[in-house]
Symmetry: C2
Subunit: 210 residues, 2 copies
């Protein structure tokens, strides 16, 4: 039976891209895929399995000139990249609004805060105020280590950076966040960490309110 993804592509668990090997022999992340590609593949899997609906937002573009050649599709002839006013990924999971950014760094011991823009932080703060679940997926590309970092820790380091350090130590990311291990399907099983994050947020709320 051929399973088709909603985008019309075949899903074939026996094809080269999905080769089922002994897990111990494979570092799943290390295939030259960018973090974005890995996440898109994971989100497609989650969508197809009806686990969650998460999409990467298109890159915002300012279109200046469009040609309409006869008998063919409109061609954009002049356009410019605009700065996004939000994060890259959002969607819905078990009734929760998820909103996150994915970032790679070649740093080994910390994650530099200049990977973020002010408006991305402000967007996440606004979403948290609306009870959205916000976080960052950070990949240390040299060691292929992945973490889910809750927005609260990011905000804390972001807000103190004019007087303090300009990066988040990897140890802090590991302690206040969740390590994500690459696996077969989905490649990046980040929703398992989101479950823990939601549980923690609930416990914190419970402690404050009761």
């Amino acid at each position: 039976m051929v399973i088709r993804y909603p985008n019309g592509q075949d899903y074939n668990p026996n094809s080269a891209g999905h080769a089922r090997k002994n897990q111990r022999d494979v570092i799943f992340g290390n295939r030259g895929m960018s973090l974005e590609e890995e996440l898109n593949q994971s989100n497609l899997y989650y969508l197809q399995q009806q686990v969650a609906v998460i999409h990467k937002k298109p890159v915002p573009i300012q279109i200046v000139q469009v040609d309409y050649p006869r008998r063919s599709a409109a061609v954009i002839k002049e356009a410019y990249f605009k700065q996004a006013s939000t994060t890259d990924y959002n969607g819905v999971y078990h009734g929760y609004y998820l909103d996150f950014e994915a970032k790679e760094t070649r740093n080994k011991t910390s994650f530099p805060l200049n990977n973020f823009h002010e408006h991305q932080i402000n967007h996440m703060k606004a979403c948290v105020r609306q009870a959205g679940i916000c976080f960052t997926i950070i990949k240390f590309s040299i060691t292929q280590e992945l973490f889910l970092l809750p927005a609260a820790t990011l905000f804390e380091y972001w807000d103190q950076q004019t007087h303090g350090r300009k990066s988040i130590p990897k140890k802090i990311i590991a302690d206040s966040g969740f390590a994500i291990a690459y696996q077969f399907q989905p490649l990046i099983p980040y929703l398992t960490c989101v479950d823990k994050l939601i549980e923690n947020l609930r416990n914190v709320k419970g402690a404050h309110h009761e």
Copy 2:
């Protein structure tokens, strides 16, 4: 005091665009603005007032060629419009994931279903399965009438169209949906209808589960 929107634009209630007039003398929608512009303005207001975080997604574009002129920004020289795989608007409101499409029609008595693509319907169905709140904002442009139509009614008409009618009668939209009256700020106060929609969904759920 100058209030600035998060996009850096000034908000000035006394400027021409925001002229405060007697409500009875003004049809707020009838300013030559498209429904998209009206919604973007409303969403900006909701964002600035910290009521909700709803954004229109950028138009997805396939970039083929980019030039990098010296000392200036990258210029996209060849690109094509791609079909979106989701709806246009989503975001978070009081912990709820909202997802909707906005459509205008010049029809007077019904809303033609060919305004939608299959993948938009499938996307909304997937979001509803994840307990997202999905709907359409429909504008009858000749009469400047606005409605919020819950996804359930849209699905019902969509699923029967091969054997039944290819449009949703305006009467059905008015009966199963909510009329939205243009007002001063926000121009389209659709979240008031979303409140009712959420209340109805809760009542239905309550009736089924208890």
